[in-house]
Symmetry: D5
Subunit: 162 residues, 10 copies
């Protein structure tokens, strides 16, 4: 059994039952809905109690439940550059704005990255008379490049230098 | 003269003067700093009054000023996948989380995309005892797929169906 | 069930019945034929009343009908660059004429894009003694780049500057 | 001298003089503005009388004038997939809608292609209270696949079969 | 049913029966053998009377016969660059000689292309004491680039200028 | 000095002098014009007496003349897939028709290839009331796969088996 | 049936029987073992008497035997660059040493190539106290570039010029 | 000035002076030699006191010194896959062993990654009678995937579950 | 049977039994756990006694056991660049640090590579109050480039020159 | 100075002087001509005494001489797949025959590779009445995969198992 097959099975059941993602994430709960949906789509791991709930909801076997609790090969199945317009727009934001984000973050925080691992994200509908907007709030831990082997009292993190 | 050459010249002056991006965007003002930096890095257009200010600040020629007011070939110069770790992390977020974002946005808004054009973004430092975080707030207009040729009273936008 | 499998099933039925696309789109109606065919080929969503009609026409199951009402992963199954000569010619038009289109649209409208989402297209046969022609009429909403953070009375859209 | 260098020179002069594309194409005239701009951007050939006018306008040398009259290596300088959002949207239209266009054209015309060579295109602004639109009208000669070697009275063109 | 599956079935029957391509194209007739073989390999359309004959020869179902009469997604299944040495040699000819062919054709015919659509090709064995040769004769219609919008008596085709 | 630089210099002189390729190949003579043009464009070697003539015609230095006599890195400078429409059409022919050509040649000649090295090509204008045609005649030596290590009287070449 | 499926079946039988390649090539004989193994792995054609022997050894059907006698689509199934370290090392030799090989062969033989078609290869173990070595002996026919259209007594082959 | 140009200048000076990397890193000190060399090769930032020392050693201008203190676009200039055999071997280790490393790390640590940012590495020569070995010791912080939105007492980190 | 199918079967059994990798490698023993896991994931060969043990543990057939003893096509199934974040971080280390590693190793050892074949690796958890770390120790034989054909007493290995 | 620039300079001098590679390698001597030419083309290192001789021959500066003594970034400048027909034929041999070579070498030697580092190669002209042949003799050290962590008397190398 491959993770893609489990994803396909879950989507088949969702479609057959006529469930929305909201119904599913309300049922499974316990964690941000982005992560739960990500796990059901084969991109995230569900911790045991949630895998338990998901298995009960979808009527999965013991093996399928354990597979939901495994860390998948993330990124599998999303062609890059994305062909889907909704996903492509995010890709374009990174490509066009990446250099400015790099300049801003490095000036504020020093040498490092914003983590894509210790990272959360929330989506909201932002009502707007000219057309509602998608509001996304992300927060990722800043991880400074460590400068090892430092023997002269130089701050050994990539943090902003005075 | 190519836009890359103007970008390189601007970075040379910034380095020589020892200016920070903050000093530069404070000076030019008028628009989100992400956009001003993006323009100086060759990814955005500066509207005329801002191009004027930038030209004054950097001592640019009339032609260079006009070039800042042109719409550049966006995306030039950013390899994809990004080799720079800071930019790559954003790319990875899109690749890994794209499918879940698509599911969430389409369920909430219907068929369409979040615009990468009518779109703004702000960065903030989020102090955190376990390590400060980068907080990003994005808001993009939802653009529904239009279903043209609709002759039967079917709502002709991609919005969420009841 | 994957969307490709549903597409293949629909094409099998069309072939078996000997239906033309015109017969199919006349039957389903309600929307531009480009969009209806696009949906049956797995690139567009059919809104509920049309998915209902398509399901009746092709004798689809409840699950298959719901799949037609889902937003697909657009772009799946079209290799780029296109290997098919008919599709490649359009690709070539974009590659060769893209820079001139960019110059013309930006000069007329300002900084922005022509939407590929709020966009319609019609095909016609244009009789011509030297050989009939394919006439294509497209119309897409112009979406100006928004310049956020504007605090100085500068028009905050990408529209043509005076 | 490479064609890119001539293009860069022409753009430098345009910028220095502060000319719009409209001023330039009005001056050179004689042909659709898309084609004239395409030639100045290095993607099309200018026929002799127009190359003459362009050379006079931009103050080009004899050699530069002759280069404008040469057929360039079309497609040079446009990365594919396009990184620029304006050009990418057209690319996306082809990728997402290509299969439906193929179905429609082949059903109406038979086996063949719409020419990308005997092809014209016009742009117009379509005023619209919800936001102006870009209206594009293209017309390309249909070129049927020829079926050679036909010895049995079968129509030897790819046209629609009865 | 996919076109690849039909191709595979046809090749299986050919192999089982021990037929040569010559026997097959003699039987189906009506058109150049390159085109008939191309159609059986999934790259060309067979017009109705020939699809009829092919179906009779291979014992195909009504649906399979209709599929042979459909325009396939040409180019599917041939990796580019070609890995097969026989096909690669043609690819290499294009890559190495393309620039010289372009120079020669444009000088003789003006701005345009040799059609890959209204195009025929014949293969012959050319006996030669140093080793027989493959003789290929191709003839493709020259398609001049049209220069639309011409208002000044300039010949509006890409033909050779005097 | 790189071969591309020599090619650029030769094209500059040709443009300045207003020479056609025909004038140049008539002057240099000695070999098929496709090969002479190929050499001047950096894809072929000119044998010494022809390099001598080319050097005299273009006023090249001793070193430049010797470079024309060197075997270049063939294929340099032609992007694949070709972006230029004229060259792309040949590429498309190979991609679409390659499988049929393979079937035909292998059935007639056995296992092997048509050489791209011992190979000649001629172009002609074929007058045609429906539009003149480009006629191309190619002839390449058939090179059978050798089956070495053959100890049992099996014909050790790839030729057609009886 | 695809050639890959036949290859997989042959490997399954080899594994089940516990045969070595040496046992298999001894049994089939008649040709270099590299070629026989190549054919069983789907990269070469087996001439009829050898296909006969291979079919007897592996218990293949008439159709499978004929497939072994067909020329396969060579190169199918070997990703390039090779991911397997053993095959990659050969790829690296070509990449790193290719320019020097080109210089040496062209200086010794003139303009041409070493054939990859009329080509044989043998492997041997070369005992060596510092670690045994793989000894490979290849011999390929030199194929000179032909210079057609030669009218002046210039040697019309690419051989070394005096 | 581009970072590549500064790198090239530094390498020119090193070559001219005949310095070894060891002499250079001893002189600059303060940090692991891998990082110092990485910075001089344009892949790392040198913190201010070290940039000061490097500038003194190489006789750099104020601007060049500041450039060494900037965070570069990491990854620029290293083709991937690497063509250089020394670097390729590391790439191959990742490709071949990546799946096993993933299994081992995830089983020991839970869901997360080993940081490539808070990461150090040391090289040593390991004398060995069969041939000296390169000994590499790396240590990277384990970064657990955070599971946000956790409302039910589930440990909100990706750490190993009991 | 393909190696991927065997890998999938082994993972299915592992999941069904609820075994950890540690339990499996303890059971099979005999070799570094990285190698045993690598073999079970289809990237390494298991020597006979270990294949025997693995077959007993997983209840494999004789053929499956032999397949574990075969050298697989290494690298199959790991997309490069890796999409999985855990594996990508190692890829990034190579891309960003490769040039510095090359400089350091070549200065210490001379011209050559660190073997990816005669190479071992160990993972350990390194407890750390700021977050545990993954400690990796690798050791690979240095393989000097051999300089053959040396006739003048020059050391014929790539070792460090005095 | 980049290595490519030094290579270009060396080729310019060789062309100006009219030297053959044989004259050059005879003069420099000391090592296989493939390696010396490789070094002059920027793919190999010249050990000091040979760099000395090369510098004397070409009149190089001290810095240029030292650059010849550096290990270059091998593989730079050879596009893969190779566009040059001579180099491509070797690439094709690897692609088509790689699987058979892998089978043969692994059966004879066990699990491992033939080194591309401790490797030599010689070219010879093999006179043949049907056309002279290029004879290549390569010999590379077999490097067995080491199986570390072996605690049970299993031979810890990848050598052929009995």
């Amino acid at each position: 059994m491959k993770r893609e097959e489990l994803t396909e099975k879950i989507l088949d059941i969702k479609r057959e039952k006529g469930w929305s993602w909201k119904q599913i994430t309300d049922e499974i709960g316990g964690m941000s809905e982005v992560l739960v949906i990500g796990a059901l789509l084969g991109q995230m791991k569900l911790v045991k109690p949630l895998a338990e709930k998901a298995a009960a909801l979808f009527g999965l076997s013991e093996s399928e439940k354990r597979m939901l609790n495994e860390v998948p090969y993330r990124g599998t199945g999303t062609p890059m550059p994305p062909t889907d317009p909704l996903i492509y727009r995010f890709y374009e934001m990174v490509m066009v704005n990446g250099p400015a984000w790099k300049a801003l973050i490095e000036e504020e925080f020093g040498d490092g990255i914003m983590s894509a691992i210790d990272f959360n994200i929330a989506f909201e509908r932002e009502p707007n008379p000219k057309g509602d907007r998608v509001r996304i709030t992300m927060s990722g831990k800043f991880l400074p490049y460590k400068y090892y082997g430092n023997e002269q009292g130089i701050p050994d993190y990539g943090f902003k230098e005075e």
